[in-house]
């Protein structure tokens, strides 16, 4: 009986010990839920040196960020970086974020127009939920030596490139193709019936185009491999991917599609159950300093919303940006408006049908 009692007590003590371990870890740590390249090691070291706060980085993407925060009701992380169009919808639906206290943010560090646009797009019930960090576009990455004629998304379906093109089966592809087909999906965001109609047309086009596709890519590394080896000569992709490959092979570069590149802004948003709010604000104000922002640009390959960081940015990257984006292409960028809750279901069903079609 005595031994049984001891075992029991030991078990209870162990369980309690495990509980204590998991809560004490968050004392002076900032748990950051972000994208690859947004929190380079050197920046974290400088931050820890200045403030004494440790930073734990979890790399993710938009969908996973929302799924993770939804699973915990907005816990487990202290600062997240979803895209600006993906904040208001999930916030209204799942209530996973906390409003941002703008008085704690040094707004002078931000490019004003970008800050205002992000604030407007992430406002729910009069509260602001996001401030901008990194921005960029998606469009086409083309091997100009072999597929120089690709100028828009729909050109990926040309017969001459059969078996040599790639894109993702995700919402940017639906939207890009819709614009290239002369439709206006963003204008139909508020009207489910009209939007379903647009998605149906794009779905038909994508099914028709399927024979041309080598593989639907999932991750950036997979796409890089396909383009680098020459197995794919044109693909829908992010601008940074194209510029990175351009550094290795001058034939490959990012091309802003004729119908307009799609512009995104990744933000800072506070998860509802953040345990290190002050550390989160400190991190935001730290990484938005021009010289730090330039370091993040160097690591992520995209420019930031930091005012004056351009001066510190790498000249080669600037040259690539200017080559891909003449002024009229910049003016033609289609910035993602807020995704209303529920649209993903329509898109999802269409994408599943495309994937299953023969």
């Amino acid at each position: 009986m005595l031994t049984n009692g001891t075992i029991l007590r030991g078990t209870v003590a162990t369980l309690l010990g495990l509980g204590a371990l998991s809560t004490s870890a968050s004392a002076e740590t900032l748990r950051l839920l972000t994208w690859g390249g947004y929190a380079p090691e050197e920046v974290i070291e400088m931050f820890t040196e200045e403030t004494g706060i440790e930073v734990e980085v979890t790399k993710s993407n938009n969908e996973e960020m929302i799924a993770k925060l939804r699973a915990t009701g907005g816990g487990g992380f202290d600062l997240a970086q979803p895209s600006q169009d993906r904040i208001a919808g999930p916030q209204a639906e799942f209530d996973i974020y906390k409003p941002i206290d703008l008085s704690k943010i040094e707004t002078g560090l931000f490019i004003e127009s970008m800050l205002e646009a992000t604030k407007a797009n992430t406002t729910v019930d009069g509260e602001v939920y996001g401030v901008p960090h990194v921005w960029g576009t998606s469009g086409l990455v083309v091997n100009t030596a072999e597929a120089g004629s690709v100028a828009d998304y729909t050109d990926l379906c040309n017969e001459e490139f059969a078996g040599k093109v790639s894109y993702r089966l995700k919402r940017p592809t639906l939207i890009g193709f819709a614009y290239a087909m002369g439709l206006d999906p963003f204008a139909a965001y508020g009207d489910e019936a009209a939007y379903s109609d647009i998605v149906a047309q794009v779905e038909e086009k994508l099914i028709e185009c399927k024979a041309n596709v080598k593989a639907y890519w999932d991750g950036g590394d997979q796409l890089m491999g396909l383009l680098r080896s020459g197995e794919v000569v044109a693909s829908m992709a992010w601008d940074t991917g194209g510029w990175k490959l351009n550094a290795e092979n001058p034939d490959i570069t990012f091309v802003a599609p004729a119908s307009g590149a799609l512009g995104w802004i990744d933000t800072f948003a506070l998860p509802k159950k953040t345990k290190a709010e002050d550390a989160a604000y400190k991190w935001i104000n730290f990484v938005m300093k021009p010289e730090i922002a330039a370091m993040i640009t160097a690591s992520a390959g995209n420019f930031t919303a930091s005012n004056g960081a351009d001066e510190f940015a790498d000249d080669e990257l600037k040259a690539r940006f200017q080559a891909s984006f003449p002024q009229e292409a910049i003016d033609n960028i289609k910035w993602y408006p807020t995704v209303p809750a529920g649209l993903e279901a329509i898109e999802g069903a269409a994408l599943d049908r495309v994937k299953a079609a023969n």
Partner: protein, 283 residues
């Protein structure tokens, strides 16, 4: 009293594991699967998610495809693993037995992801096989062997090989060699000895191996996604995308339960058809 308490304490880890990690989440999942989103933050209870599955041909097709491909993968694994297991258990002697067994095991020391990447390096258009074929003059241009059902099948069979070989080796080792000799002495040829003596003896191993391999294939996510390419929609992939990409936990949960029902049904049907019971196989 004290003995009883000890028994309960010994059972505690299993009960906790079953209760907290299997039963409770499943009950929760089941309730989630009965909900349907009707508006922002509004839900209704009902069987709408299950109805959606039976009315959308795409879901049914993917479901059937996953099941058929998994059965096929299991059959192929069995056909390939049987001679291997027989050789290890009956033909190889002494140290060779251990060495051969180790060869089957070694690939499983690296993660599934790495093994799958290995196949991608071999099969891709600029990969090893394609280069060798061109070098040997058997192909004029690059050959693409990746991103089709055959590549996916290779991956599935390779991934589950070990789980078929192990139970087969164990059951075949317990077969007394003198029975096989007696079979030949009584005028049997290779085929009849195999059909009348070796196969009946190996049935428990075949059944347990097949169940494991079938379950692994049905629930595999990585291999179909990476090797299968653009036509490879697998049911697990669909569950993943409902949960993560579409934020539709409700439909995803319903799919999860349907997959559970499907796999249980197929295993039950296979046991019935082969005249086996789970007790006999495990026991």
């Amino acid at each position: 009293m004290s003995a009883r308490l000890s028994l309960w304490l010994l059972m505690l880890p299993v009960l906790l594991w079953l209760g907290l990690l299997i039963i409770l989440p499943h009950i929760d999942m089941f309730f989630v699967s009965l909900r349907t989103r009707v508006g922002v933050g509004e839900y209704e209870y009902g069987l709408a998610n299950y109805a959606a599955f039976f009315t959308e041909p795409l879901y049914l097709r993917t479901f059937a495809r996953t099941a058929i491909m998994s059965v096929l993968a299991t059959a192929l694994t069995l056909v390939i693993a049987f001679p291997v297991a027989y050789f290890i258990a009956k033909v190889a002697r002494g140290r060779w037995q251990g060495v051969l067994f180790l060869f089957c095991l070694v690939p499983f020391w690296v993660s599934e992801l790495v093994r799958t990447f290995g196949w991608m390096i071999l099969l891709r258009e600029t990969g090893v096989f394609s280069s060798v074929l061109q070098w040997a003059g058997l192909a004029d241009g690059p050959v693409e062997m990746l991103y089709n059902d055959a590549a996916m099948m290779v991956g599935l069979v390779y991934t589950s090989m070990l789980f078929m070989v192990v139970p087969l080796v164990t059951t075949l080792q317990s077969l007394d060699d003198s029975l096989v000799e007696a079979g030949y002495d009584l005028g049997g040829n290779g085929f009849t000895v195999f059909r009348e003596i070796i196969l009946p003896h190996a049935v428990p191993g075949i059944v347990s191996g097949s169940i494991v391999v079938f379950m692994l294939s049905l629930g595999n996510y990585l291999t179909p996604t990476m090797l299968g390419g653009k036509d490879s929609l697998w049911f697990t992939e669909m569950i993943y995308s409902q949960f993560i990409v579409r934020f539709n936990w409700e439909l995803g949960a319903a799919f999860g339960f349907l997959l559970l029902a499907l796999s249980s049904f197929i295993v039950w049907a296979a046991l019935k058809l082969s005249g086996q019971t789970l007790e006999k196989t495990l026991g």
